[in-house]
Symmetry: D2
Subunit: 146 residues, 4 copies
């Protein structure tokens, strides 16, 4: 995750937001959401985002492209508890060649809960890297100097 | 799960035993193992049992047979906590036609933690029911009046 | 789960419905939702139901009552896949003394996916059985001959 | 994870090793272990390591110290599949003040599967940072110029 900056804490820098509600099954014996449970939250946010931009992940997979997770980086700044509602904001950090970098801001109210980055590689049905679909490459922030 | 008796509490009635150790990720905010986490424990015991009888599940799947879970019934009698070691005992309740019924006794020391039954159906690669492999049908307790 | 009938397949016999959407993390290598992943779905439906009747589970827990899961019984009739939306319908099967029995019908469109029953025991902070709160006992179907 | 180097790929640089075996429940519809499932593997390796050095995590928690996860960084280099056995090697990257950094090398045979770093903070029962126990600070590689 070197080529892109750290995920910003300013919510206005994220064009997309969705929400999750904490399940009891996601808590642990410390009384808070287990750190592994955030990865499915981020995954759900990715799926919602792809829906939002008109390219559902099921459709991408049906065309023979998987967006495999190559790397995750998560900073846990505050805990979530059972039944909490959290907002997950998402932005594209980079989308070039076969690589997609996404950034996430998870908040409960105004409190920052998690900052995260995931890096994905587009793979064909044989597991070989392929170029990202054009609609993803078009989202690269460097495209228009953003 | 009507055709077979309830899982017995007598450990001697189970020919196979394996152990699991509770992960922190499997606990919940009540401080005990979440009830859903027992299903992967039972699954692990099934896989260990199939290894034990010389027919690893990976081999069964490679031959085009899945043992889909059709039904589960779990009674929770005492909790497990983080880092507990539990013994899972397993017996074949029935193995006829396309149906396999397994029974489980989970204990921590002498304490009964869970009694469970799972029913499975053999499916071909198209998801259609097929007869159980012969080595499984041979384990049906009715075979020899057991 | 002897004292109550099997969960009905008629959706009209369930007074409450909520929905879930399948996460990729909930699927397994058979390409369908793993059987253990349905238990958190049912738990989410319970939490939504308690909200719906004006008694959120967080409030019940804050008053020192846990509704521990004593028993689950799940019949898997059809699979769910990634990104499927499913409806979970819920009804109270029994609510007497310290015991609460809930029944669930999970459907994708008109297709029945799962029928399930969960039995719960009300526990005080020391883990001892206590009577169900009055608002739950009032929901027992036997109350008014239903 | 700035203050420490990337996790080394040389297994000899890790003083501790444990093994995990992939459960079916940990796979996903791509046919491989879901990326979130690696975090409980790393957690299990930490718990095994603390046992190994004579300070079980249950004992640390009993003395009122939690080692909360503050940050995780995982690179996925190759997939694991159902029933694979993987070796998880662990080393202490840093152990100073309230911060513990651990590094992990996950391999299947000679193949590198995952490189990971986790950062932990010692917390008292009120969730406030406290110094790491002396036995952990003694493991800091900088102690002896390593």
């Amino acid at each position: 995750v070197r080529p892109v900056e750290d995920p910003p804490v300013d919510p206005d820098r994220y064009p997309f937001a969705t929400t999750v509600r904490v399940r009891f099954a996601e808590t642990d014996a410390m009384g808070v959401v287990h750190h592994a449970a955030y990865l499915p939250y981020l995954e759900e946010a990715r799926v919602d985002y792809l829906d939002h931009i008109g390219h559902p992940y099921t459709g991408i997979r049906a065309e023979g492209i998987d967006l495999a997770v190559l790397e995750v980086h998560v900073k846990y700044l505050a805990p979530l508890r059972f039944d909490d509602r959290a907002e997950i904001r998402l932005r594209v950090g980079a989308a070039r060649g076969a690589r997609l970098v996404l950034q996430y801001l998870v908040r409960r109210g105004d409190q920052v809960v998690v900052l995260a980055t995931t890096m994905h590689g587009a793979l064909d049905p044989n597991g070989r890297p392929v170029r990202l679909p054009e609609f993803l490459r078009a989202l690269d922030p460097g495209k228009d100097g953003a």
